[in-house]
């Protein structure tokens, strides 16, 4: 592939810098939380470094190929993701009572993470294809079909959080492209009709989680325990924090899931409000930068994809931090670029690659 010099000149170093600084803080944080959790094997922060490196490779691939080519193959990407989800439901590994993992060549992979990115790409393609005609109810049906398949497969795992995450992404992108008001009313009212139905379909533990979210003290030993301990960890960090390796909630393991879902609580406990402010500012800058990329995209699919990926990151931040500070229910959504997790890291790095892709092609794009 011939590399256009203008591409290098327009390379989005700022985005890369923001992403890598979050990854760096995340790795440091994993080092601290894993310090007393060592159970043999490789340290998680070392593994996370490996995932970041792997992610960087994916990122390079993702920004090297012109995003229009990627969008052209959107349905293929989507189909592959659906295939992987199907594979999970047949051959997936069970952990903690749900079937989310696919083991390939010794690596565990979570196709539902890939699906988050795939749905963004496929929607960019779909909305772009139908833009000129305007959006109507026929589109709604197609949209529901595109969303419905992965949604049901993921609910079946069961992973309610990720399934809802897909709904949110689809909703955001639909609003963004400007589907009609009727369309939105249908979408929302349909959701409201389905919600009670949903209540009966979901598993007991999921129902429990929602109830516990509404009142964490309801079950201080069980589901509410996580949230209470997380709030104690975050609050006890105060302004200055307890210092790295000195977070008592973390190091004495009062805080659960501290490397994945509650990684932010570890950081907040050890670095305090000051550290949290810095991290939040980086996150904020990243989102703003992503929106800027969407805004400056020369074409519609680029803008849509950039917007979708940014929303992917934004909702990840909002839901994860909202969860650990007790304003969202406990759902297994990792904090983007920060929580431990190979699938999530690789997919997000790929997403960042797509953002860079759109960003660096904004000037050279010939319509």
């Amino acid at each position: 592939m011939k590399i256009d010099r203008r591409l290098l000149a327009n390379f989005d170093w700022i985005l890369l810098g923001l992403v890598l600084s979050i990854c760096g803080i995340g790795i440091l944080n994993l080092y601290s939380s894993g310090y007393n959790l060592y159970t043999g094997g490789e340290f998680l922060y070392v593994k996370q470094m490996f995932w970041v490196l792997l992610g960087l490779i994916m990122m390079v691939i993702a920004f090297s190929v012109d995003y229009r080519i990627i969008i052209r193959h959107a349905y293929l990407i989507y189909a592959v993701s659906i295939m992987l989800l199907l594979l999970v439901s047949f051959y997936g590994n069970m952990t903690h009572g749900s079937q989310r993992w696919l083991v390939l060549w010794g690596f565990s992979f979570q196709p539902s993470e890939l699906m988050k990115l795939a749905i963004v790409i496929v929607l960019a393609r779909y909305f772009n294809d139908n833009m000129k005609k305007g959006y109507n109810f026929g589109n709604l049906a197609a949209l529901l079909a595109l969303l419905g398949m992965p949604f049901l497969l993921i609910v079946k795992q069961p992973d309610l959080g990720t399934a809802m995450f897909l709904v949110i992404l689809v909703f955001c992108m639909a609003v963004f492209v400007g589907v009609g008001r009727k369309f939105l009313v249908c979408f929302i009212s349909g959701g409201m009709v389905l919600a009670p139905l949903f209540w009966f379909l979901i598993k007991d533990y999921q129902r429990e989680r929602i109830l516990t979210f509404l009142n964490p003290e309801r079950d201080p030993l069980g589901a509410g325990y996580h949230i209470i301990q997380s709030i104690i960890a975050i609050g006890s960090g105060g302004i200055w924090g307890k210092g790295i390796l000195k977070g008592t909630q973390t190091q004495l393991r009062f805080l659960p899931e501290q490397q994945t879902d509650f990684a932010f609580s570890v950081f907040a406990e050890e670095w305090g409000f000051l550290g949290v402010s810095v991290l939040m500012l980086i996150f904020f800058a990243l989102i703003m930068w992503g929106l800027k990329i969407a805004r400056h995209s020369r074409d519609f699919p680029g803008a849509l994809m950039a917007f979708g990926v940014t929303m992917f990151v934004f909702w990840g931040i909002l839901i994860n931090i909202g969860m650990v500070i007790g304003i969202f229910p406990v759902v297994g959504i990792p904090l983007p670029f920060f929580s431990y997790g190979g699938s999530s890291m690789i997919v997000l790095m790929t997403g960042a690659g797509l953002l860079i892709n759109v960003s660096m092609r904004r000037f050279i794009l010939q319509p």
Binding site: M131, K132, P220, G235, S236, T248, L252, L291, A303, F307
Partner: protein, 615 residues
Amino acid sequence: MSGKQDRLTGYDSGRFRKKIQVIIWLVSLAFFLLFARLWYLQIIRGDDLRKRSENNRIRIQEIKPLRGLIMDTHGNILVDNQSSFDISIVPEAAKNIEDVMNKLTDLCDLGEDTISCKKPSFKSGRPFVPVRICKNIDRNKLAIVETHSLDLPGVVVDVVPVREYVYGKTMAHILGYVGNISRSELGRDIYSGYRSDDIVGKYGIEKYLDGYLKGESGGEQVEVDVSGRRLNILGGIKPVPGYNAVLNIDADLQKICWDAFQEKAGTAIVMDPRTGSVMAMVSRPSFDPNLFNRGISGDGWKKLTADSLCPLQNKAISGQYPPGSTYKMLVAAAALEEGLITKNTEIFCDGTYRMGDRTFRCWKKKGHGTVNLHRAIAESCDVYFYHLGEMLGVDKIAEYAGKFGFGYKTGISLPGEKRGLIPTKEWKLRRYGERWQKGETTSLAIGQGFTLVTPLQLLRAYCAIANGGTLYKTQLIKRIETADGQVVKEFLPEKERTVPVSRKNIDILRYALWGAVNEPHGTGWALKRKERDVCGKTGTAQVISMPEDTSDDVDDVQYRFRDHALFVCFVPYKDPVIALLVIVEHGGHGGSVSAPIVRRIVDGYFNLERRRKKT
């Protein structure tokens, strides 16, 4: 780039830019909310949540002090501390409590008292506080639990110090026992510094000296992890062990007294007449105070309280008996001191004494003939004392009784002491609304009737006669010392009063008591020993008045109607070193039952002394 519509694709970037502007606001708002919440948690509630995290991490654990030891006068340990093992479960660490409990019960039988896993204490909302599921497991079970500890998450073994009463039953009434403080005790002022999980003395010395024995609790700040494992000790205050108590009791002598009774019920006290210290005090039947260590079972308690022989009662201080003939000493002392008689005053005893229309009998039906005071005491002539009673009157006897320490507590360092009863004319009027009858003084003079004394009072009065007239305070405790032996408080002999009887008259009484044992017709003749001169007085305390012509054969009388047999004595005649009282409950007539017991104790004491001198 200026918001114009792209001709080829129809992409209106201007329209989307406006939308993105709105989204930027929404995203900013979302971040602002997250920030606000983080501000609230970390800055406004920071201190409060910091405290909660410290509460998670730091546990204040009380360290109970070791209770003070109790020793006998020679330093032999009477009450020691031993380890007992409890099993508790930490709910959080156990995760599935039912599972762990099942595993535990599969491994070993924990006994019936095991708390069920359904207990509400497991759902108290304090997941890291261990819940005790069974107490006092034996060492075999402990070993099983310890070796399987990996399969039993959350199961912890607590070591709890318990009291060990080395001499078991033989000293139960002196030492008492301990138990968990009760709700009603917690309410009382004397227990103001106590906590609801404290162990307190419930009876005996354990109760009387609780304030000295209990020591002071210490505490530890311990850092624990989520499963309650102790990681670091951050600081603490060491507990101060309780003070040790040294008693005047001689454990070997106590044992001799206990064994002397064989299986009979009753009480024996040995005192040093020169100091008033209590060297032995036995009350039978007794109980095993070790049973109370970890809480006595309901059945065990019922058995103890339902026993008609009252094993829980210390008969030496709580038993109240008519003194019988042992009281004659007091009547004689009063009559001598009041100048109503001299040692030569003779009275003729034909076996009966008439008072109004009633006839009182001497225990010797044929009568003693003409007797003087010496013989009257030695041979325990009732008629002689009927006359003295008439001469003295009830109130004069009561006055002397009071001077000899009757009618009020001796103040021994044990809870539950009774004061006895010394009747007066006024008392009867107040109590029954009736006037005193002359005949009542008659039976009073031989220690029957209303009069009630505790064995300890009686012995103390005899000590005063033995030592020439000094009424000492009864001293059970010798001293209190710290765990490393520094004396905190010493209990020296304390004179309470000098009895108002002249030395000359006391000598008359002492000689008569010598006669009672060492002269052929004396009632204590059975106790005559070649090598030492025991001086003493027998007595029979009537349980109920028996019809007059029943057989003298005690075996025919139902046990519970039989009289109590008393014997009070001191040894030797010159400068006595011990005074001894024995009461055999329902033993029948005075000398025959109590004498062998007294003999065993006296001989035992002197053998003990001889052995001690040799070594």
